[in-house]
Amino acid sequence: MPRKWRYLIPHLRRKAEREMQEEFRALQEIAGKRELGNLTLAAENARAVWGWPRLEGVWADVRYAIRVLRRKPSFAAAAVVSLALGIGANAAIFSLMDALLWRELPVRDPERLVTFVNSSRSYFGYSRFAGNRGGSMENIAACSGSLVRRLDTGRGPERGQVELVTGNFFEMLGIQTDAGRPITPEDDRRGNPAPVAVLSHSYWQKAYGGAAVLGRTIRVEKAPFTIIGVAPAEFFGVTVGEVPDVWLPVSTANSVFPGPSWLDGKNNNFLTIVGRLQPGISMQQASAELTPVSIQIDLERNGPPRSEKDRRSLFESKLILESAGKGISFLRDRFSEPLRVVFWMVGIGLLLACVNVMSLEFARADERRKELTVRLAIGASRGRIARQLLTESVILAAASGLIGVLLRQPLAAALVRLILVWDDQPARLSLETHSAILLFVAAVSVAAALVSGVMPALRAARGAVQPGLQQGPRPAGGSPSGRFLRRAVAAAQIAISLVLVAATCLFAYSLHQLRQFDGGLNRNRLLVADVDPADAGYEGPQLIGLNLRLRDRLAGVPGVEAVSFSQNGIFSGRNYSTHFDADGFFNADQRTHFSAFDHVGPYFFSTAGTHVIAGRDFNERDDPGAPKVAIVNREFARRVFAGSDAVGRNLYVTAAKDTILSYQIVGVVQDIRNDVRRPKPMFYLCQIQTQTQAFSTRFLVRTRLDPTAVIPSLRATLRAEAPALHVDQIDTAEELLDRTLATDRLMAVLAWGFGVLAIILAGVGVYGLQSYDVTRRTAEIGIRMAVGAQRRDVVWLVMREVALICGSGIAAGTATALLMARFVESLVFQMRAANPLIQAAAAIVLVVVGGGAAWIPARRAARMDAVAALRNE
């Protein structure tokens, strides 16, 4: 009925109303008043024809609800604040999970993208795949992920991120640039005299302020590149959590990463291969077609298989493809589990807020009993009353939802900075409001409205008519069902709080355990300074000389006990591995001939406080003229030499241009661990002998006294020696360790927040309940005291009730916590999540909180004047 819609416009309604009255007047003149009968009824019925009764009913409910809520602003404020926080937090976590785990890449047909999980990651491997694509893949490209390099836009070098991509990368993803053009296969030629670059949208805004950049030159590590395009704002490559500043063709790798060629050599693994399937082709088909290429690459890299077992495992291996429609991400692997747990915690927090609001609504419904019974008496249906009360809850929840949407963005951004930190950089995720998020907020708001409003509304509407209208005393304590309901709600609050408090204790203790873990070195009074000698314009062997000079100067600073240096540092994300061989290493499977390694300075291990198990540390006698030496860690010795002596054996390491250098092992040291996982095998070379440096130097400084006091002098010394040096960070070893524990710290911090919130809410809940109860039972208490009850009997009366509530709440909460414990098993360190001590601790906390909260009303009851109480009767 299209015409009826017009009557929603108030202007037209009023016009129709006026005309109807006019018509009645005119007809009355013609027909006479009595002929027409009951015009009021006629008007009512006519209005029903063009009216929208249900809609108008709802609108009336809404207006009334707003009036009611405005009369009690404290209640409305309390409810909206707690719900808004809960909804906002839930929405924030949801948008984080959406951005990290579920959202598809903003590229063409993301569902056809795949990555090669177990393939070679070198340029050599890529070119083999690209050359033998076969029919199943429409295109195969490769990218390197964000790498730190120095960018110079003309204002001097600044730290930035570049990503190396093959020429067909943008084409494969179907990305058109906002300005200019993307990188094409023609640009990706080795020795291209005019290398090109594409800027990301955010970098374009940040570094150039959005000005015209096409044709301008940007220098990456002093190599000039011509800017040919700017990527669209939502594009960030295929790695979720990173946004490169500049995309460069992979053929320029050697100018951007000076040193051994990244493009040559079969073992320089820096690329991730991403491909697009032909329409209609499955991953299995593509895998079957490309596995022979993968095997071929393996043969060319590692030579023919040495044993029958190796031959079989090689030829039975399969190239594994994985869907890349959601991008690739290390963050995802590391944080998907914690994020899920946080999601549930935040959900429980919201549930707690809803239960709180529900108990507040119960109390309010009791207060409004008179008003409701009057409405029932003059004919409102119970359904209508329930609907009106529910409307109040809906309005509260809607307001909270709106505020929650506003809170989402800052909360999510704060969470990203707090949690999703990889290698000292917070992740960069797109946190804009999507329709999915709005839908989620709407759903959560509706759920909140229902949970907090339905039961009070139904109960209030069921209220008996007679007792409400009487002015006399109400039955002591209210109706039995009312009392049970209130206690049940309080017990539910205790139970939910217990779960959150147990989580707090669990994660806090787990973090404590983690901080004690033995990293293989002495963390006391140890500083790490990150210095890049290449900043000072040094190159090649001069870098090493500078390292040594800086070490000597730092050692001279008052308060410093010992100084050494290395490339990786400690507790850093840095990790390099390479191919090696060793005397007596009988494992012919070439795949096990990879180990992590580091270039360190003299006395590195004694400075770090790492125990030397056999042989010796590096010292200044290990110079370029002396025999080449190496030191290995215990895990290396175990895996390679299986218990026999490592000292004295030879280690063969593949260096630049595939040459093999031989080093004699002169020491075995304790495992230095970056994190709590199993130790990795590592070998160490003396940088003075290798004369290679690829990245910045990390100086280890052991101080005599408080490390932070020495930091300013260290900075001054470094600046004095080489003024052009840029000293990034000077951290203590403890701080660095803490950074690797980001996930665990996150869990502990959030759990603390929730635990505190839970305790407050539980306490308030119990206090409110008992306070209310005592007020209602004033007469009863007065009578008891009049017939001889002592003060402590009265106190016991109150506390007995609290004990019952706390007991049942703790029982329910403990059961729930134990059930849910298994979901957080992977996040706790060296303990079972269902640890009975933790549960007991949480229970004790809640008993104290519940008891303390009930104490005040209990004392008030005990100090009541019996005579005054009875006089009120």
Binding site: E23, A26, L27, E29, I30, A31, W50
Partner: protein
């Protein structure tokens, strides 16, 4: 006599076939044509008129009456004519069916 709601609509449409009328005149016409058997309360007629107007089967306009008063006149629309034909046919079928079942008045 009690009328079904749909029947009243049909009667009004039929009454307007002879020409536009105002609300009271329609009620009077139905009473007169049925020989006072159908006394339509204005309170029931008026909402029915509004319903028909909403459905587009009648159209209303303000016009000057005999004694120079502005009065609202209702007219049958073409759509209303079509609806009337359909209703009439349905009613005839209905009446015929009842008549067949009831047959002539039984002899007592």
């Amino acid at each position: 006599m009690d009328l079904l709601k749909g029947t009243l609509d049909m009667l009004v449409l039929r009454t307007l076939v002879f020409g536009p009328l105002h609300g009271y005149a329609i009620a009077k016409a139905i009473r007169q044509t049925s020989d006072d058997a159908l006394e339509i309360e204005f309170g029931s007629l008026y909402p029915a008129l509004k319903r028909l107007e909403l459905k587009g089967w009648v159209a209303a306009k303000w016009e000057k009456s005999e004694n120079n008063r502005q009065v609202r006149i209702y007219r049958l629309t073409p759509a209303g004519k079509k609806q009337l034909t359909q209703e009439h046919a349905k009613w005839a079928d209905f009446a015929g069916a009842i008549a067949r079942v009831m047959g002539p008045a039984p002899e007592i």
